[in-house]
């Protein structure tokens, strides 16, 4: 960790006893901000504060959170919903799990403040099916909050009422896409909806809805405590306030969930300082910087400030801040096949390019690895990816196409080695 760097979450991670209401009240100024908000602030003031905080959504798209909330129509007579996206399913990402495991109450407090801000009286947490334990812990914390008057009717003596329901998914990656999530929440088939209308206008149960990531919502109490401007200053780069939780995995010495002030470190620093360098002193080959869908970087591209815009400038993305480090021993073609297999498996199947194309890419890669491919198949692979990327109903198509395009572009000789028979699966 860099000297003097400030963190909001990680110091509370790792100890089972930290998840109690008691710990939250004593060590994290528990529910003070919710109380202050409900008694002293108007919803507009909350949204204003969040806007000032410059917080980008932590789910992957990086959309400014305050802006998202301000899209919820104020005069609509329909009920409004705040839905917390806890479907954390982008391969490599495991930061929301830590929040729900060790600081569930900060998420609940964030939900109270956020719900109040957009005028919601029933918030949902859509949690991925595989997070069985986390769903239990979250429900236990919610029960605790109800029992102590932090949820339910007239929260902390105010006139505000809020219920929270935890809804467990059934194990589909696509339900992390916000409209796929909303369909699933409504009991429908988990497949994305055509946009517009956006959820802010017609979301859950056709009512105005804000869908926010766990980390985003858990930051809200911190924003209210510090004030939007101070929170924004935690970020060391424009348009990106607060801290970022990073899921660091792959061939590093000390993988794990780390936290840094936004834009305060380069990818290399993260790997060296948080990760303790490459495992067993091996050489670095590549880094997938933002979850398995983000375009891969080569070893000499990692002196880049780890935040949304610097990464975008070099043609990749921060996504859910899940960094996967790849050492010199890794077969990039096999790794890509594994990634492609994942997206082919998780395609919901409703739109043509993703349904047909993801499976086709997987087949082509399979042929390449098994020595059954033609010399033109690498170009075919890239062309197929081009027919998927940017052409699908939701972002899953892009997520499947970007790794293919970037792997071939940056590691083409490895693909050619298979074609030339220099390498063979076995």
């Amino acid at each position: 960790m860099s000297a003097n760097s400030q963190t909001l979450f990680v110091q509370h991670f790792g100890k089972d006893s930290n998840r109690t209401l008691d710990y939250f009240l004593k060590n994290m100024n528990g529910y003070e901000q919710a109380k202050k908000t409900l008694t002293n602030l108007t919803p507009d003031q909350v949204i204003e504060e969040v806007k000032k905080a410059n917080i980008r959504g932590r789910g992957g798209a990086g959309f400014p959170m305050g802006m998202k909330w301000s899209f919820i129509p104020k005069n609509s007579e329909k009920p409004k919903y705040l839905v917390c996206n806890a479907d954390e399913s982008e391969p490599g990402t495991c930061k929301d799990r830590q929040i729900m495991r060790y600081t569930p109450h900060v998420l609940i407090e964030g939900l109270i403040i956020g719900s109040y801000a957009i005028g919601c009286h029933h918030a949902y947490v859509y949690i991925r099916g595989e997070y069985v334990r986390e769903a239990e812990l979250l429900n236990a914390a919610i029960d605790e909050a109800y029992a102590n008057g932090y949820l339910g009717k007239n929260i902390m003596g105010s006139t505000y009422t809020l219920d929270i329901t935890v809804h467990r998914g059934a194990g589909a990656y696509i339900c992390g896409e916000e409209t796929g999530l909303l369909n699933s929440l409504e009991g429908k088939r988990g497949e994305p909806r055509v946009k517009p209308p956006f959820p802010a206008i017609s979301g859950a149960f056709a009512c105005p809805t804000a869908v926010n990531n766990v980390e985003s919502i858990a930051n809200v109490p911190h924003i209210m405590r510090m004030g939007g401007e101070e929170f924004a200053k935690l970020g060391k780069i424009d348009k990106s306030g607060g801290t970022r939780l990073i899921s660091l995995s792959g061939h590093v010495s000390t993988p794990g969930v780390y936290e840094m002030q936004a834009g305060s470190m380069t990818l290399r620093q993260i790997i060296d300082e948080f990760g303790g360098g490459i495992l067993n002193g091996k050489k670095l080959k590549a880094v997938i910087p933002g979850g398995s869908s983000s375009p891969v970087l080569t070893a000499d591209e990692i002196d880049v400030v780890y935040d949304v815009e610097p990464l975008m400038k070099i043609g990749t993305m921060m996504g859910s801040a899940a960094i996967m480090v790849i050492n010199e021993d890794t077969d990039m073609v096999k790794l890509l096949l594994r990634i492609s297999k994942f997206y082919a498996h998780e395609s919901c199947g409703q739109c043509t390019p993703c349904r047909e194309g993801c499976h086709w890419m997987e087949s082509i890669l399979h042929k390449i690895i098994h020595g059954e491919a033609k010399s033109t198949d690498i170009d075919l692979l890239v062309d197929v990816a081009g027919n998927i990327g940017g052409k699908t109903l939701c972002a899953l198509g892009d997520a499947a196409a970007m790794p293919v395009q970037s792997f071939v572009k940056k590691f083409r000789p490895e693909f050619e080695a298979y074609l030339k028979g220099q390498k063979r699966h076995g």
């Binding site: 088939r189 086709w360 940017g390 052409k391």
Partner: protein
């Protein structure tokens, strides 16, 4: 009015209209699969890509509404590449069994492949195949041909009001099927075949009978009930092979029920009486038109005659009959019949809140407008003459003599004495008035068979013995 530009042409639009509709007005056809004007927009097939100025990605025209000043290109290189990509994806697993597919010739997949696809195939993997479920009497399923446009699912949910078609599994393994593999329940199942853009859902009734391009098409109106759904009769060699709905946004939109769709079969039933006949003992014996009409003439001179007129007849037929009866049979009564229990238009309500009406004839409203009273209960007279288009439900008749003029099947007229064969709705022109009071035209699709004659012709011959003798 707001304007946008499509392929260099300025077009006016109403806010809320999507680019497919607006482009159509500019004479630009955008290829589609999942889009259907009568169903919700899902933008799933990714065929209708267009390029919109100032938007980085290709947009789907179905889900993009026209906006003031919008500049749209539908033939740019990017659009062509996008559509070609989609066509390639759709054909990866399609069997291309067009020579044995009933949809061939009227298949969106064929047409769009021809218009937007590549002539070459880059795919060499094994194709995906499915085991099909039995979908019941109306629809034959062939999932291998399916392109997952989900029109059928949406039709069930949104139009037929039944959630029976679903997508199961996901990704490359997605299957469009019925819930738990059950047979289709809706009485509108034929529409599944109409809207299917490939040969995945075909009509069992039509399968393997005729290639689509050999069929001639005649626009007419369904006679199945008082809704008056607009329909097209498809025929060849004086035989009807299929009826399909025709768009009329004020009446049936794009749909029709199975009852109406398959109703035409009775007109080609081997038991339909196609020659003048009279009862000898228990059997029918052929007679000449002269004999038949002479019998009709002499019998109706009796004192107590009741003329019954089916509400399945056209306005023209009804008024010709009325004219003849009032002029030549001053003491006779003239009453209408059509559907038991639905004698008047006031009793005619929607049967299922979709299309079907309670009156099972097409022209109840017409009979009322002509002031023809409805028969209540049993038809009782010395002589009863029944004029019928073929669909009106025959009432109970108590008479010494019964004569039928029009379309009858043998089993329907066991108590009749003479039948003079007429024309079915598929064989004649005429006007009917639907339950809303809309006048619509029937059009002759096929020629009269054997010795069948139109009612005006019958009436004319009835009055003109000389001609009758010559013609006979």
């Amino acid at each position: 009015m707001a304007k946008c530009t499509i392929d260099g042409k300025e077009v006016e639009f109403t806010p809320g209209e999507n680019l497919i509709k607006v482009a159509k007005r500019a004479g630009v056809d955008i290829p589609v699969f999942c889009y259907h004007p009568g169903l919700t927009v899902v933008a799933q097939c990714r065929m209708c890509y267009v390029e919109v100025e100032k938007m980085p990605k290709l947009q789907t025209a179905c889900s993009t509404n026209a906006a003031e000043g919008m500049v749209v290109k539908t033939t740019s290189e990017a659009v062509k590449k996008g559509r070609e990509g989609t066509m390639e994806f759709l054909l990866l697993n399609h069997p291309l069994d067009c020579p044995i597919c009933d949809k061939a010739g009227e298949c969106d997949l064929q047409d769009n492949s021809f218009g937007s696809g590549s002539a070459y195939m880059r795919h060499s993997e094994e194709r995906r195949t499915y085991v099909d479920v039995d979908m019941g009497d109306v629809i034959q399923k062939n999932m291998n041909r399916c392109i997952h446009c989900t029109r059928c699912i949406r039709f069930g949910d949104e139009i037929a009001g039944i959630h029976e078609m679903v997508a199961i599994k996901r990704g490359n393994n997605i299957d469009i099927t019925t819930i738990d593999g059950k047979q289709l329940q809706t009485e509108y199942a034929g529409n599944y075949s109409d809207i299917c853009p490939t040969g995945s859902l075909t009509l069992k009734d039509f399968r393997f009978k005729k290639r689509a391009w050999m069929l001639k098409k005649t626009d007419t109106v369904c006679e199945g009930c008082s809704k008056g759904c607009n329909m097209e009769i498809q025929h060849e060699g004086n035989a009807i092979y299929r009826c399909v709905p025709r768009e009329n946004l004020e009446i049936n939109k794009y749909w029709m029920c199975d009852e109406g769709r398959f109703n035409y079969h009775y007109t080609q039933d081997p038991a339909r009486i196609l020659n003048p006949v009279q009862k000898v003992g228990a059997a029918w014996s052929k007679i000449t038109w002269d004999q038949g009409l002479s019998a009709l003439k002499s019998e109706t001179n009796a004192v107590n005659t009741l003329f019954l007129l089916g509400t399945d007849l056209t306005l023209e037929e009804m008024s010709a009959i009325r004219e003849t009866v009032t002029r030549n049979h001053k003491n006779a009564k003239l009453l209408s019949f059509g559907t038991h229990g639905v004698e008047t238009s006031a009793q005619d309500k929607s049967q299922d809140q979709i299309l079907k009406m309670k009156s099972k004839t097409s022209n109840l409203m017409g009979a009322e407008k002509l002031g023809i009273e409805a028969l209540q209960g049993k038809a009782k007279a010395d002589v009863v003459v029944v004029f019928r288009g073929g669909r009106a439900q025959l009432p109970a008749i108590e008479s010494k003599k019964t004569i039928g003029v029009g379309v009858f099947l043998e089993k329907e007229v066991t108590s009749f004495d003479v039948i003079l064969p007429g024309l079915a709705f598929t064989e004649k022109d005429g006007t009917v008035i639907n339950h809303q009071g809309k006048e619509q035209r029937l059009k002759r699709a096929v020629l009269p068979r054997e010795k069948c004659k139109a009612i005006p012709e019958v009436l004319m011959l009835l009055l003109n013995q000389k001609t009758r003798e010559v013609l006979a």
